[in-house]
């Protein structure tokens, strides 16, 4: 018998539609899986709306108006002139949620990116190479881990505060304190992620497909980023989405202690803190920034859920 005729005849019979369906590209497949995830679609749309609200809203309301104090209109309930009401010094809450949202979203997303880069890098190196490198990196991680994050946040905020110049982005000047807060939150929250990534790498690197890649001669960098990382994406996405929420909240802690984003610049976090003494008297004071934080966190979590499924080729395409 010739080389391949027998082997060829051994191909199982596929159902007709299985062969007729044109092969889809990876991106198409991912999009199909994502699309059937209703909550993820909701999350994506909601997040897009939040961006439109914060960045599009700025076209109608000026930042000066958001910071304008009107002592005659303190703690007013929602009305036509102030749809979300006013705060203790008579600033318009609607305008402040728009400008505060810009900062909160930027802090949440970029702090997550900082965390991702540090956490994945340290976790991956530690888990893949093991040995002394793992020992050193993990002892360092544990050292960061045992120092209370809040304490680190405060010390670093105090140390770096005021040393970073302001920067202009999207036609708006951000105080240097925003950059400091982003870096501080990113630099203190990567420890969990690093440990998750390390654990994933340790279990995955013993799998046969990694051995196969090594037998082929695939360089370590490609094994780490091409083989192992895509297979540990699920816990990374979950952790990353949770950390967006945590970053928005962390910012509010440091703001509360007077070391975060400085007044009068608004953030959702410091608006919430400001409302602390008025929970019953002026509920609009916290309901609006609070709702926006909840919506952001929820939609990012839904989005993360959908992304995780969409990126997993094993989940079925309907």
């Amino acid at each position: 018998m010739s080389d391949t005729t027998e082997a060829l005849s051994a191909i199982p019979q596929f159902a007709a539609d299985e062969l007729e369906a044109p092969p889809l590209s990876l991106r198409q497949l991912a999009w199909r899986r994502f699309r059937r995830h209703k909550m993820a679609l909701f999350g994506a749309v909601m997040l897009a709306l939040l961006f439109v609200y914060c960045f599009g809203g700025a076209l109608w309301v000026s930042e000066d108006y958001a910071n304008y104090t009107d002592t005659k209109a303190r703690l007013q309930a929602p009305s036509v002139s102030h749809p979300f009401g006013t705060d203790t010094v008579g600033r318009d809450i609607l305008a402040r949620t728009i400008y505060g949202g810009q900062i909160s979203l930027i802090i949440g997303l970029t702090a997550m990116l900082v965390e991702l880069v540090i956490g994945v890098l340290i976790g991956a190196l530690s888990g893949y190479y093991g040995g002394w490198l793992d020992s050193i990196l993990m002892r360092f991680t544990e050292a960061v881990f045992v120092i209370p994050q809040l304490f680190l946040l405060i010390v670093m905020a105090k140390f770096f505060g005021g040393k970073v110049p302001n920067l202009t982005l999207l036609g708006r000047t951000f105080s240097g304190s925003v950059v400091v807060v982003i870096l501080i939150i990113g630099a203190t929250s990567w420890v969990y992620l690093a440990r998750i990534v390390r654990a994933e790498f340790i279990s995955l690197k013993e799998r046969e497909f990694i051995l196969a890649a090594r037998a082929i001669g695939t360089p370590a960098r490609q094994i780490i980023f091409g083989h192992i990382l895509p297979n540990s994406i699920a816990p990374i996405i979950v952790s990353a989405t949770l950390s967006v929420a945590a970053a928005i909240l962390s910012e509010s802690y440091i703001s509360f202690l007077g070391m975060g984003v400085q007044a009068p610049t608004a953030t959702w976090g410091n608006m919430l803190e400001g409302a602390m003494n008025y929970i019953e008297e002026a509920p609009w004071f916290w309901i609006f920034p609070g709702t926006l934080i909840v919506l952001t966190v929820l939609s990012i979590n839904f989005l993360g859920d959908g992304l995780r499924d969409a990126l997993d080729p094993r989940s079925r395409v309907v």
Binding site: D3, E6, I11, L211
Partner: protein, 327 residues
Amino acid sequence: MTETEPLVRVEGLVKHFPITRGILIRRQVGAVQAVDDVTFSIARGETLGLVGESGCGKTTVGRTVLGLYPATAGAIVIDGHHVRTAKGAELMAIRRKAQMIFQDPYASLNPRWTVGAIVGEPLRVHKLCRDEKERLDRVKELMQLVGLSPRLINRFPHEFSGGQRQRIGIARALASQPLFVICDEPISALDVSIQAQVVNLLEDLQERFGLTYLFIAHDLSMVRHLCTRVAVMYLGVLVEMAQRDEVYESPLHPYTQSLLSAVPVPDPQVARSRKRVLLEGEVPSPINPPGGCRFHLRCPQAEARCATDRPAWRDVGGGHWVACHRV
């Protein structure tokens, strides 16, 4: 290099996995002696079967020969390259010339890669194709070669059956046109009717490309069918190695004898009349293996010196190697 020089030569191969304690300063408290002083060679175009029970170290031998695990001691030469000292371009040459097929068709393929990416990986890593199109054509050719429809190139491993996945693994191993392929239990996860397909495919490919195989398996019947020579391993050491029919018809080592007699035969009349040498007890731990001959605790023919002296690994004539004091 002369034609008589074996393609693969392994001498005094030792692989110990250290057992360490301590957090900051690690100290070694023991070792799993997975492979201990193993010597064999494989001629060009032949198939050497490496058999033994689970935990005997046969898989470790395969992985150490390819340098996937660093060897503790010994020499490994593949087509003139010393695996233990090879670096850079020479290491890449070894990676191109020697390949591996794995046992588990589910774990050995990256679940997030398409068949095209998996089979094309060696082509990419070794830069064997000029451009993307040439690579795709070559991948399709390889798929056809192992009996997979090239139309399935964009599909993911989980969409295939066990036998088809094993074909994907074979196509990947052949992509870099290797001389030597280590087959690490490639059929033990497959159903009987699929096993024969894969074994016949391996034979066809060997004939067509002049491949040399190290076939690691615990299925002694299949090894007899496929291999030209057979080596038997027990608890990290080789106990016997000879031409296929010689091992099966006149085994010299007591372990080989009892192992062969334990294999069930699909023939009730033979099964009733066969005499079995049942072994007592189970395989000891490789962490503190018995001294002397590693088999002496279970050996029906053991004598005093078996407990103290390690029997030499020697050729008793006609290329029949054995490590036993009584032979």
